[in-house]
């Protein structure tokens, strides 16, 4: 049995490819939502229609900034996980998680308040507005769940599998943050 000597190359593992697939298809879904937003916008004589108002610029931007900032601890987490530094990974994850939960909590309160003010069924603007925003929040929420699960896993230390998990979830978060920027940009474009 002659085994052919083959060079080994540091490769991009299948797990991360899997996450890339998730990002691709999710990105496409949200892309369709955003396309719909502009499709409806271009058809409407006034945007936002009478009785609606575009989201507040300042608060929205600040909140988004907070969320996007969590890309840093997530990145640190994935590096230190790869380097096998368990404590550092945990710390970074916890920091990220706190900010993300804060963001989610505020957004949830805000979202429900707004829903009381002007309902999703009010007109086509509110329909797409709340759908987009809701989709974004859903992604953040799922990311939070992932981080919680990850911290649970890390209680019993790092394994190769968990390192991959940290990396993949970090990617997911970078994606969610980019997504949030794009969606917020779309929604704020109602001011233009």
């Amino acid at each position: 049995m002659t085994a052919v000597p083959a060079p080994r190359r540091v490769a991009f593992p299948a797990g991360l490819w899997g996450m890339l697939m998730v990002i691709a298809t999710e990105g496409m879904l949200l892309g369709a939502f955003i396309a719909t937003y502009f499709y409806l916008r271009f058809k409407a004589p006034v945007w936002p229609p009478h009785g609606d108002h575009a989201p507040p610029i300042a608060t929205t931007l600040i909140l988004t900034a907070c969320l996007v900032a969590t890309s840093a601890p997530m990145a640190i987490a994935s590096w230190s996980a790869a380097a096998g530094e368990l404590a550092k990974t945990r710390l970074a994850l916890v920091i990220a998680l706190i900010v993300q939960c804060g963001y989610l909590a505020y957004e949830f309160k805000d979202f429900s308040d707004e829903l009381h003010k002007s309902n999703i069924v009010h007109d086509q603007y509110t329909s797409i507005y709340y759908t987009l925003l809701g989709a974004d929040h859903a992604h953040v929420f799922f990311g939070v769940l992932l981080n919680l699960w990850l911290l649970g896993k890390l209680v019993t230390g790092l394994t190769r599998y968990r390192v991959r998990a940290v990396q993949a979830i970090a990617w997911y978060w970078h994606f969610v943050n980019v997504l949030t920027i794009v969606i917020v940009g779309t929604l704020l474009s109602a001011h233009a």
Binding site: A14, A32, T36
Partner: protein
């Protein structure tokens, strides 16, 4: 020698499947999942076929009332949805793709075996979900294209369309999982040395189909989500009163719907490009052009969607964009047609059943393709849109060009799956019956369309010259059915009475023919290496026994350089459980019990946690 048997037993021990039903429920073996897909889709093919026969019987003569309008509308809707979402895609990707990809790539399993199982169980769930709607008399009834406002709550108050929306999302989850699975498997699980330029064309086809599914399905999901919200929450996406638009539905639907038809056809190209080299004993002509053609047809296919909407009064300038893409999307197909034909000519063709079906496929595909080219001419498209001319066009493509290769593939890989040779003569007879039947069934539709018969009429008046063609079509439909039954019956007979085939009856080019038939649970005892796109014809020294664990090689992606040895997950009960919880979620959604659906969703998340509680062994 001792060493060899010892290692084989070790592999057996590592990979062998649980016995009995439980083994099938918890399996992560791509071959078993492929078979599960095969049997399920075969049943659904039967259902779709019966629906078609019922419609053809109704239309055999003018002014017939065997079937009422409501039933007829449900029939053609289910026929479309079933054949597209529940037969061709799962049959080509789920069954053929799952069974063959790892065998062709020289891998022991897919990249994500448990996810692979999950995709099947979700698919099964969605199939049940769809046909329950028929059982409870609420089957979708607004066409597979399901245009608003006809499908809005106001004009369709029943649960029919909710079943459509949720069934489509449910099914597309399964397809998306398969797609992601295929792309990663193709990029990461190729045998050492299989650089992308040495990857079998079948895998290129599967890659193209997966790419299409991954990027096309989300727009459909978005679309049906909007519709579901419009129907059940009261939003205004498609509501003209609020500057919503019925055309928005069509844009999103066809942005998915046109790539979809290429997703249907491309795996068939893959099957054809596997059979042709084997039965002509010659490498495919113009290999790189065929490979890129398979990718291009899907890629350009994303830019042609509005040619389904030429009659909706879009600006000419907009239509030009889609017309241009439609014009050029033809070229990849013409390239392949000539490459196939030249391979026939340059090789020594053996016209056994599989190659016969491929020859028939080329004929049917060219027929459908030529009428397709006619649709480049926007005014002509606008003239015949929604007539039987269009039905003729896409049935030549979908039945002739997508299903013929499936039949050919059945005969080609039957020995690999069962270890028995199929009887050839009955297969050939079956081919000729099906060939005559389908042409008798579909060719008159061209004429019908041109002389004015529109689609989706549950009955038609006499005196317009439509009678003879409709009658001929109905006869053709039954002839085709007879042929298909003979075809499948012969396979069953061969399974029991056929002679042993051995590992490589056709002297096939690709890696699956290097392993015993049926393949062992671990596929390859020794991980092969590859020095050619036709590794069974140009063997290379194997890499190594990977028998120290439940492992497989992970390559680096482009040039087939070994990246890593990874532990593969074992059988798992979680995929079917997760699918079950999802079925619960969708059932509750269709009943409008959103809170309970939410609770079910929590169960889904819990199963996910359980799923990941056991980690694959380290290497």
């Amino acid at each position: 020698m001792v060493v060899v048997t010892e290692r084989l037993t070790r592999l057996e021990h590592q990979w062998q499947a649980r016995p009995g039903v439980l083994g099938w429920l918890t399996t992560t073996d791509h071959k078993r999942i492929g078979l599960l897909y095969f049997w399920t889709t075969l049943v659904l093919f039967g259902a779709g076929g019966v629906e078609a026969l019922a419609m053809r019987t109704q239309l055999a003569r003018p002014n017939q009332h065997l079937i009422g309008p409501e039933t007829y509308n449900e029939l053609f809707t289910l026929h479309g949805v079933t054949m597209i979402f529940f037969f061709i895609i799962p049959m080509t990707t789920g069954a053929f793709g799952n069974y063959l990809l790892p065998l062709m790539l020289g891998a022991r399993d897919m990249a994500f075996p448990r996810m692979n199982a999950l995709s099947f169980w979700i698919f099964l769930g969605s199939g049940i979900f769809l046909y329950v709607s028929l059982a409870v008399g609420d089957a979708p009834n607004a066409g597979w294209f399901n245009y608003v406002p006809l499908s809005s709550r106001h004009y369709d108050p029943g649960h029919n369309i909710d079943f459509y929306c949720l069934g489509v999302i449910f099914n597309s989850i399964a397809s998306t999982l398969t797609a992601a699975q295929f792309i990663v498997t193709i990029l990461k699980s190729r045998a050492p040395g299989m650089s992308l330029n040495r990857m079998p064309l079948f895998c290129y086809a599967m890659f193209a189909a997966a790419f299409g599914l991954l990027f096309a399905l989300p727009t459909l999901s978005a679309d049906v989500i909007f519709l579901f919200l419009d129907r059940n929450v009261g939003t205004h996406f498609f509501d003209p009163a609020y500057h919503g638009s019925a055309l928005l539905w069509q844009h999103l639907f066809w942005f998915f719907g046109h790539p979809e038809v290429y997703i249907l056809i491309v795996p068939a190209f893959g099957i054809a490009t596997s059979i042709i080299p084997a039965f002509t004993q010659r490498k495919m002509v113009a290999f790189p052009l065929v490979a890129i053609a398979e990718l291009l047809v899907v890629f350009i296919g994303f830019g042609v969607w509005a040619h389904h909407m030429y009659a909706t009064g879009l600006p000419t300038m907009t239509m030009i964009f889609f017309g241009a893409a439609t014009a050029m999307v033809v070229i990849p197909s013409t390239i392949q047609v000539f490459s196939w034909c030249m391979s026939f000519i340059m090789g020594t063709a053996r016209f056994n059943t599989p190659l016969l079906f491929i020859a028939g496929f080329i004929f049917m595909f060219v027929m459908g393709g030529l009428t397709g080219i006619m649709f480049v001419a926007i005014p002509f498209d606008q003239q015949v849109t929604d007539t039987y001319f269009v039905i003729a066009h896409f049935h030549y493509i979908i039945f002739g060009a997508a299903v013929f290769p499936i039949f050919g593939g059945l005969y080609y890989w039957f020995p690999k799956v069962t270890g028995k040779l199929p009887f050839d003569r009955p297969g050939q007879i079956a081919f000729w019956i099906i060939f005559v039947g389908t042409n008798l069934l579909f060719f008159p539709m061209h004429i019908l369309g041109l002389i004015g018969m529109t689609r989706r009429e549950y009955t038609y008046p006499s005196g317009l010259g439509w009678e003879p063609y409709n009658f001929a079509e109905t006869i053709g439909a039954f002839i085709t059915t007879a042929g298909i039954l003979l075809l499948l019956g012969n396979l069953v007979y061969s399974y029991f009475r056929g002679v042993e085939s051995g590992p490589d009856p056709w002297h096939g080019p690709t890696l699956e023919w290097t392993v015993p038939s049926p393949p062992p649970d671990y596929n390859f005892a020794v991980i092969p290496t590859v020095r050619s796109a036709y590794p069974n014809w140009e063997p290379a020294p194997p890499y190594e026994w990977l028998d120290r664990g439940h492992q497989q090689v992970e390559s680096e992606g482009v040039d087939g350089v070994i990246g890593d040895i990874v532990g593969m997950p074992h059988e798992s009960p979680w995929p079917p459980l997760l699918a079950l919880t999802l079925l619960g979620v969708f059932a509750m959604l269709v009943l409008g019990k959103f809170e309970i659906a939410g609770i079910m969703g929590i169960f889904t998340l819990l199963t996910l946690v359980g799923w990941h509680s056991k980690e694959p062994q380290e290497s």
